[in-house]
Symmetry: C2
Subunit: 204 residues, 2 copies
């Protein structure tokens, strides 16, 4: 019986080749021929699945975002599972913020690829249209956690959850950019996150 071809898996394998090339050489180095070589498939197969380079870039980004979301969800679920007596919002929020940082090679590559897409999209309106949404899901997620903590009486009532979330998310991303370049140490960035969590929640 011939092995059934899992088209979704093939597409993800090709997308992963885009990420590797983009992380190592930048997004401008991505072309369908090198992606095929890197993925160990034929150029025709890449063309069959993605048709155009633009489409390949857009779908590779979508797969990357899906993987990041799954990874974050897994991390948070593990934190919750590890404390069956109940986990404070502060602990979950800390996990979510640390998850944005380049804490290992996979996270590091993800951030590099995201930044490459960001800069490329500044000069590529078609890519920008695919890359950008009006939504701010990460900020909304963090603001939601802060609101939940406030309802549980863990926060001072005068704190503005959305403004705190906006600075935390953009700030942690910026600190992550410094980490990519070894301009800062991970321990120090995590200590900055902890300082701001203590500011919001009081001493742990």
């Amino acid at each position: 019986m011939p092995k059934r071809v899992d088209h979704d898996e093939r597409r993800r394998q090709i997308a992963a080749a885009v990420w590797r090339i983009a992380a190592d050489q930048g997004l401008d180095a991505v072309n369908m021929r090198d992606v095929a070589t890197q993925a160990g498939v034929s150029l025709r197969l890449v063309q069959y699945y993605f048709e155009t380079k633009h489409n390949l870039l857009v779908l590779a980004l979508r797969y990357l975002n899906e993987r990041s979301e799954q990874r974050a969800a897994t991390r948070i679920a593990a934190t919750l599972a590890a404390t069956p007596g109940g986990t404070s919002t502060r602990v979950v929020l800390r996990e979510a913020l640390v998850e944005f940082l380049p804490i290992d090679d996979e996270h590091r590559d993800t951030l590099r690829v995201h930044l490459a897409y960001y800069v490329r999209s500044l000069n590529d309106p078609e890519l920008a249209a695919a890359f950008l949404t009006d939504e701010t899901p990460l900020e909304d997620l963090i603001a939601g956690m802060l609101e939940q903590a406030r309802e549980a009486g863990e926060l001072a009532s005068r704190i503005d959850a959305q403004r705190e979330a906006d600075l935390l998310v953009s700030g942690v991303n910026g600190l992550g950019m410094d980490l990519l370049h070894d301009r800062r140490q991970l321990d120090d960035v995590v200590a900055t996150i902890d300082y701001h969590l203590t500011r919001l929640f009081g001493d742990p």
Copy 2:
């Protein structure tokens, strides 16, 4: 009498051509021939002053940083001059933070060029060596202002000036990146800055 050639001015004119190309088309589009055309000088002159493309990129960044620093100093001096009775640290700090944002075309281009250098330097160790320093001058400037405010009794004593400065500077840069893509509105970002200043200094 022949006009004296101002070599420094010529170099700045050529550097400005690098910024324009990098802002419009990305840093990968920069080459010495197009820079010469854009600057309205000969290729030989660009080669005479800068020798190599790498050197041109490094020096163009240095000139850009000098211009940014002068622009920020001018803005802060104007704020101080406008209030002869003395300006609070909060007002000066606010000007400094807003100055990081893409508030007009010149600031917008500066941020685009900086981000292009950032991403390029992730895959270009030679450029990274020129681009990066171990120093964090902006964070230190903001932390210094917060310390000064604390000494003047304007801040709560338990605030950690360095951790506040680290999140403010990286956060304002991240919010500026969102502004470049019109993912946020300037008014809203300034309101986020004001919220955090009120958190630090109390109601204005």
